[in-house]
Symmetry: C2
Subunit: 356 residues, 2 copies
DNA sequence: TTTCAAATTGAGACCGGTCTCTTTGCTTCT
DNA sequence: AGAAGCAAAGAGACCGGTCTCAATTTGAAA
C-alpha cells in the first residue's frame, strides 16, 4: 500500500464523506470535532478518513475560522544567545497553547522589521511578539496593534505604545553595576553597545533607540552624575554591531592614553570581544581592567577570570511575553500590561579596584 | 483618519474592486500582479487599494495556489548554539528566496518530532528541513517526503532515505581527533554525547540513532582499533543530555581510578560542562586531562587554556540545506543530493601529551 | 397512538483569493 | 470593408474547510 504514486491532489472532507456515504457537512463535523454526530456515523467517517489517509488542511480551516494558529516572532538575531534563549521560552509556551511560531530576523534593521511585520500580518498570524529595533519608529507596530491582532513587546518597550510588554529592569541593573564600579574607585568607565547612531557618536541617551539599552545608559549616566562625575557621555560607545566593530572600538579605546579602567558590555557577544581584545593587548582582567557584561552567557563562568555579569531572566522574558499574548488571544481585551522582570548581578572575578 | 475603530473585518479584493468601479477579477489581477490590465485601470485599482488600506490575505492566496510560502524547520533545540546558528543560515536563505520559516523544537524527541511534522504538513508548508532525532525511525520522514512536499535533512542523514541531505564529515573529523590524541600517547580516551540509549549504556555504534554522532563514534572506535586498542566501547558515554547529567557523568568518570586522560565532547554544551567539571575536581587541562570539543563555539577561544575544537561549518550547513530545498521547490525533481561539508580541527591549547 | 422538542443530517453559502472561459473592443492585414 | 488577432475586462467556478438553516428522525411525554 506504499505503492500509490505520490498523491499530488490531497484527500478532502468531500472525499471522506463520499466514501463514508454521508454528506460533506457531516463528515466535516466528525473530522473537525464540532457539532453533534451519531456514534455510527462517527465511526464510519473515522474509518473512511483512515482508509483514505485524510489530512486536514489547516489553511482552509484558518480561512473560515480566521485563526491561523500561528504567532509571529520578530527578533534581532536568532544567532545571538539572548534571542535564541528567549525564543525558546516563546516556543515552549506557544506549543503548549497550541500555536506554532513563525520566526523572522530583523537584523536590528527597522526596514526589515517593517517588512517582517507586514509579511506576518499578511500570513494572518494570530498575534505578534516583536523585539523592536527602534523605539523611535513605531508606526508599523501601531499599525499591527490596530490591525486587531494582539502584539507583545519583548525586552524593549515603549511607553508610547499601549501594548503588552515584558522587559527586564535594565536601568536598575545598570545603576547597580555602576555603583559597584564607582565604589571600587573607577572613574573612567566605558559602556559599549551594539546600538548605533547616524554618525556613530553618542551624545545623549535619546540618541539610542533601543529601549533596553537606553534605560541602561541612563542608569549608568545618572549614577555617575550623582557621584559627581560629569560628562560621562564620552565614555559611551555605540556601533559595536559585529565582532570586528567591537574589536576595533575596544582596541582603540584601550590603546588610548587615559584608557578606561572598567568596561560595561551591553551583551555577552560584546563582552566576549572585550575579553579577547584586552587579552590581545596584554591588559590583565581585573587588575588592569574591570569587566562587567550583560547577559549571563554560559561561557562567562568558565573564563579566567570568570566574568561578573548581569543575569537577565532571558528565558522567562520570552515565556512571559508568550503568556501575555496567549492570554490576550484567548481572553478578552484587558488593559495593556507591562511586566518588569528582576535582574541580578552575579559577582565573579572580573571586577576589582581601579588601578592606581 | 486614524480614528476609524479597529477594523475587525478586513478589506478584500471585492471591496477594492467596487471602489475602483471594476470587476473583482480585474482588481485581483492588479493586486495579484498577474494577467494583463490597462494602465488606467491599474492606477484606479491601486488608488482604491491605497485608500482602503487593502492588505492581501496570504492564507486565501495559498488556498488556491497551493503554495504557502513557508518552510517548516524542525530542530532539536534552538537554544543550542549549533542549531541557532544553523537556523540563522536557513532563515537567511529562506527570506532571500521569499519564504518564511516556521520553527519547531523537537527536544530531540521522536514523538514530538512526529507531531511537529504532522503539524507542519497540516499547515501546508512548501517544504521541510528536519534534523531528525533518530535515524532508526523515519516513517514520518518517509511520509513527509511522500506527501509531495520536499524534505531536506540537516546534519543528520540516512542512506535509507532518498532525500536531500547536508551533513559534515563527522567520521573524518573524529578520526583526525582520535589519531591526534593517540599520537600524543593517550590510551584512555572518553567520548561523551547527549544521545542516549534505553539503559543509558553504550555497546555498539548502532545503539546511537543520531547519524552525525554515530559516524563520529564509529570513526573514534575504528581509529582506536586500528591502533591496536580494543574494547574502547566502554569509553563511550551516552546520556549527557543536560548540564546536570553531563556533570554527573564527567565527575564520576574523572573521580574513578583509571580515569581518562583525554575527553572528546560531542558538542560545545557538553564541552563546556567537561571544562567546568574538571576544574571543579581540580584536574588541570591539558596536563592532567586533554579536551577536544565538537563545535567551535565562540567561548572556546577565550578560556584558559583555549579549547581545541572541531570546527563545523554550522551556518553553511543550514544555508546549504535551505538552498537545496529552495532549488527543489523551484526547479523540477532532480535526484536526491547529499552534501558533505568539510570540518577542520582547530588546535588550541587543551590537548597535550598523555600524563605518565 | 399522537405530539413536540431534541438530536441528526443534508444542502448550500461563505471565507478571500486565483484562474479559466467568454465577451467586448480595437488594431491590422488583405 | 470584412476577417483575423489580440489585449482588456467581466462572470463565475474553485480551493477545502466551517457554519447556518432547514429537513428528517428519534424518543419520550401526554
Amino acid at each position: 500500500m506504499d505503492q500509490n504514486p505520490p498523491r499530488s491532489t490531497s484527500v478532502t472532507v468531500a472525499d471522506v464523506a463520499r466514501r463514508a456515504g454521508v454528506s460533506k457537512a457531516t463528515a466535516a463535523r466528525v473530522l473537525g470535532g464540532y457539532g453533534t454526530v451519531s456514534d455510527r456515523v462517527r465511526e464510519a467517517v473515522t474509518a473512511a478518513a483512515r482508509a483514505l489517509d485524510y489530512r486536514p488542511n489547516e489553511l482552509a480551516r484558518s480561512m473560515t475560522t480566521g485563526r491561523s494558529g500561528t504567532i509571529g516572532v520578530v527578533v534581532g538575531d536568532i544567532e545571538n544567545p539572548f534571542f535564541s534563549l528567549a525564543v525558546r521560552g516563546i516556543t515552549d509556551v506557544a506549543r503548549q497553547a497550541g500555536f506554532t511560531v513563525i520566526l523572522i530576523n530583523s537584523g536590528e534593521d527597522v526596514t526589515a522589521e517593517k517588512a517582517a511585520i507586514r509579511t506576518l500580518l499578511a500570513k494572518r498570524v494570530d498575534g505578534l511578539i516583536v523585539s523592536p529595533a527602534k523605539e523611535s519608529e513605531l508606526d508599523h507596530l501601531q499599525e499591527a496593534a490596530r490591525s486587531g491582532r494582539p502584539l507583545a513587546l519583548l525586552d524593549r518597550g515603549s511607553e508610547a505604545l499601549a501594548v503588552d510588554t515584558v522587559i527586564a529592569d535594565d536601568r536598575n541593573a545598570a545603576e547597580g553595576v555602576t555603583r559597584r564600579l564607582l565604589a571600587l574607585g573607577h572613574r573612567r568607565i566605558a559602556y559599549i553597545t551594539a546600538c548605533d547612531t547616524s554618525d556613530h557618536l553618542f551624545r545623549t541617551p535619546s540618541d539610542i533607540n533601543t529601549g533596553s539599552v537606553r534605560r541602561r545608559v541612563e542608569g549608568f549616566l545618572d549614577t555617575c552624575r550623582e557621584a559627581g562625575l560629569a560628562e560621562m557621555e564620552r565614555w559611551v560607545h555605540v556601533g559595536a554591531s559585529s565582532p570586528e566593530h567591537t574589536r576595533r572600538i575596544v582596541t582603540g579605546m584601550l590603546r588610548a592614553s587615559g584608557r578606561p579602567t572598567a568596561i560595561i558590555a551591553s551583551d555577552s557577544v560584546i563582552g566576549l570581544e572585550v575579553f579577547k581584545a584586552s587579552r590581545a593587548i596584554g591588559l590583565a582582567i581585573p587588575s588592569d581592567l574591570s569587566l562587567v557584561s550583560f547577559h549571563d552567557a554560559d561561557w562567562t563562568s568558565v573564563t579566567s577570570p570568570p566574568v561578573t555579569v548581569v543575569r537577565q531572566p532571558v528565558y522567562r522574558l520570552g515565556e512571559r511575553a508568550a503568556q501575555l499574548l496567549v492570554e490576550r488571544l484567548n481572553g478578552e481585551g484587558m488593559e495593556a500590561r507591562r511586566v518588569v522582570l528582576q535582574t541580578e548581578i552575579v559577582e565573579r572575578a572580573s571586577v576589582a579596584e581601579a588601578p592606581a
